[in-house]
């Protein structure tokens, strides 16, 4: 059976524990990288990561981009929405179509 993990600063993610998700509080980049590799190798199908930490480890996330599992998904943290998640969606449109024809305002 696979599980879902959430990576981020403790204040952003402690609520998810009540839903039955595994929470992995991290404080800095090294911890995030370690945790990400550890979770991806383990039985985790989805890994949510707060945008702030995701921005620091983009190259690690990129490694898992081509694999079907795990899905690494950015979510906004308690400090607010940086728009990185929406930006990621726009980036895939750009990659597929050539230019962002759907969401550019």
């Amino acid at each position: 059976m696979y599980k879902i993990a959430v990576i981020g600063d403790y204040d952003s993610i402690y609520g998810f524990a009540t839903l039955g998700l595994s929470i992995c509080p991290v404080r800095n980049r090294e911890e995030t990288v370690d945790k990400l590799h550890q979770l991806a190798a383990g039985k985790y199908g989805i890994i949510y990561i707060t945008e702030r930490f995701a921005a620091e480890v983009t190259e690690v996330i990129e490694e898992y981009r081509e694999q079907t599992f795990p899905a690494i998904i950015q979510i906004p943290g308690v400090s607010g929405n940086t728009g990185a998640g929406v930006g990621g969606v726009k980036k895939t449109v750009e990659q597929a179509v050539g230019s962002d024809i759907l969401f550019s305002e």
């Binding site: 599980k3 895939t92 990659q95 597929a96």
Partner: protein, 218 residues
């Protein structure tokens, strides 16, 4: 260009003709694949954006609720309340094949069927704001799972579309024109050889007649 390296032989010509047929067929198939992928991708990416906006708004308001809940009780109390989660989520992974792209399908089961099991604490010593906060987070969970599904599928499909598009373009603008050019070159070269052989034979015949009978055809 490449035509300089081509051997003007019949065997090479047959080989090139086969190659052109394969290339044209491959080009058609890949183009169809690209179009179908693109159609599905555009549907999916629109949904992805919608779900993402919903999830982000949901998380934002849930975070607000948690801050309010935190204000109503001490940090230690809050940690104790959330320390031992009752509920657990088991994820069932599945893959769906869309035009040879493996996109994920997530199905989840909670450990207990009771949806109230997300409240991992007794209600006596916690504020009601905490209940609201936990509930708001629980409500967006299905959307979050769907987001993971959509977003991963979009990423995988975008990569595949890019790859397919490159292949289509390479076939259309490089491989097929080049093969056709080479075929034309060989055909012309072979025709030219044939003509030159014929002329040579005619000339030899003339010379032999001249020598045997001192007779010229003209």
């Amino acid at each position: 260009m490449a035509s300089a390296q081509v051997n003007p032989t019949r065997m090479e010509l047959t080989r090139l003709k086969k190659k052109r047929i394969t290339a044209v067929r491959g080009h058609k198939l890949l183009k169809d694949k690209r179009d179908e992928l693109m159609r599905r991708y555009l549907d999916l990416v629109r949904e992805n954006m919608e779900v993402r906006k919903r999830v982000e708004a949901g998380i934002l308001s849930a975070n607000k609720n948690f801050v309010i809940a935190k204000a109503g009780m001490s940090e230690a109390e809050l940690h104790t309340a959330l320390m031992a989660p009752k509920q657990e989520i088991n994820l069932v992974l599945d893959e769906e094949n869309v035009m040879s792209v493996e996109i994920p399908k997530f199905d989840y089961k909670t450990r207990t069927a009771d949806e109230n099991d997300i409240y991992s604490y007794g209600f006596a010593f916690t504020s009601s704001d905490l209940d609201g906060a936990v509930k708001s987070l629980g409500d967006i969970l299905p959307d979050m799972i769907r987001l993971a599904e959509c977003e991963k599928a979009c990423q995988l499909m975008a990569a595949e579309i890019e790859k397919t598009r490159r292949r289509v373009n390479a076939l259309e603008h490089v491989i097929i024109p080049e093969t056709e050019k080479n075929i034309k070159y060989i055909t012309m070269k072979l025709d030219e050889n044939e003509r030159s052989t014929q002329i040579r034979l005619m000339k030899v015949k003339d010379m032999m007649l001249e020598e045997a009978h001192h007779y010229s055809e003209t």
